[in-house]
C-alpha cells in the first residue's frame, strides 16, 4: 500500500462531490459524465448549451490547474491501441446501456440512495476487479 495517497484522494473526492452538489442544486441535474456526453448524440436544442459547457469545464480543468501553479499528475497508459479501442467501445456502449458510470451511479446515485445505482456500482466494481485480476494475474498483461 506504499502508493496510497489519502490526503489528495479525499480532497479531490470532496471537490468532485461539491461539483455534483452544485450541479444538482443550481441546474437540477445529475453530474453523470457518460450521460452528459451521450446526450449530445441525440441533442435537444435546450440541452446542447449546458452539456457542452460542462464538457468544456472538464477540458480546461488541466489548464486552470497549471495556471494556479499545480503540477499535473502523469497519465500512465500502457495498453496497446487495439485494447484501448476495444475498452473504449465497451465503456461507451456499457455506460449507455447501464445508464451511468462512476460519476452518475457511483458518486451521484449512491449519494441520493438510489438502489439502481448501488447495484450498478457493485456490479461494475466487481467486473472491473475481475478483469484486472484476469489480465494482470492470469494472463500477465
Amino acid at each position: 500500500m506504499d502508493n496510497f495517497t489519502p490526503v489528495s484522494a479525499l480532497l479531490g473526492g470532496l471537490m468532485i462531490g461539491a461539483s455534483a452538489a452544485l450541479f444538482l442544486v443550481l441546474n437540477g441535474r445529475i453530474a453523470g459524465i457518460s450521460g452528459i456526453l451521450g446526450g449530445l448524440l441525440h441533442p435537444t436544442r435546450s440541452e446542447v448549451g449546458w452539456r457542452l459547457a460542462f464538457l468544456a469545464g472538464l477540458f480546461v480543468a488541466p489548464l486552470v490547474y497549471v495556471a494556479f501553479g499545480g503540477v499535473l499528475p502523469p497519465v500512465e497508459l500502457d495498453a496497446s491501441l487495439p485494447l484501448l479501442i476495444m475498452a473504449g467501445l465497451i465503456v461507451g456502449f456499457g455506460t449507455r446501456l447501464g445508464a451511468g458510470c462512476t460519476s452518475g451511479h457511483g458518486v451521484c446515485g449512491i449519494g441520493r440512495g438510489s438502489p439502481r445505482s448501488l447495484v450498478a456500482t457493485g456490479v461494475f466494481m466487481a467486473t472491473a476487479v475481475a478483469t484486472v485480476f484476469v489480465t494482470r494475474h492470469l494472463l500477465g498483461m
Binding site: 470532496l14 450541479f23 443550481l26 445529475i30 469545464g57 499528475p73 461507451g92 441520493r112 494482470r136
Partner: protein, 152 residues
C-alpha cells in the same frame, strides 16, 4: 446563460477534483482495482468523499424542491433492477478494468494526456452511438408477462 455558466463551473470543479485526486491517471485507478496485487485504496477515499458531499447536495436540492437556475429537478425516479442496468454496468466494468479509463478521466486527460487517450475517447463515442441502434426493449426478459395493451 447562468445555466451555462454553472454547468461550466461544475465541469471545471469536477475536472479539478479528478486531477487533484490523481484519478486522471489510469495506473492509479488500476492500482485500486488490483486488490490481489499491490493494492492502492485511494479511489475508495475519492468515492467516499464525493458521495458524502453529493448526498449533502441532494438533501439541499430536495429541501428546496426547485433548482436555483432551472424550472425543476431532473432526477431519475426508477427503482427497479433490470437486465439493461446489470448488463450495462457489467460491460462498463470490464472496459474500465481493461485500461483503467472511465468517461470523466478520459475527457480530462484529452488535453494533456498521451495521444492514446484520443483513441479511447473516439472509440467510447462510437460505442455510445452504437447503443443508439439498440431497440428500447432489448434485452427481452423471457419470464416477463405480456402487458395488456391499452389502445386509445
Amino acid at each position: 446563460m447562468p445555466l451555462i455558466l454553472s454547468a461550466f463551473a461544475s465541469g471545471l470543479l469536477f475536472g479539478l477534483g479528478l486531477i487533484v485526486s490523481q484519478m486522471v491517471n489510469p495506473a492509479k485507478v488500476l492500482g485500486f482495482l488490483d486488490i490481489f496485487g499491490n493494492w492502492d485504496p485511494s479511489l475508495a477515499l475519492v468515492m467516499g468523499g464525493a458521495v458524502v458531499v453529493s448526498a449533502l447536495g441532494y438533501w439541499v436540492a430536495k429541501r428546496r424542491g426547485v433548482p436555483v437556475l432551472a424550472p425543476r429537478l431532473e432526477i431519475p425516479t426508477r427503482r427497479d433492477l433490470d437486465p439493461r442496468l446489470i448488463g450495462g454496468a457489467a460491460l462498463f466494468g470490464i472496459g474500465w478494468g481493461l485500461v483503467g479509463l472511465c468517461p470523466g478521466p478520459a475527457l480530462v486527460g484529452l488535453t494533456f494526456g498521451p495521444s492514446q487517450v484520443f483513441a479511447f475517447v473516439a472509440a467510447m463515442i462510437v460505442g455510445m452511438a452504437v447503443f443508439r441502434l439498440v431497440p428500447a426493449d432489448w434485452p427481452q426478459v423471457t419470464f416477463r408477462r405480456e402487458a395488456t395493451r391499452v389502445d386509445g
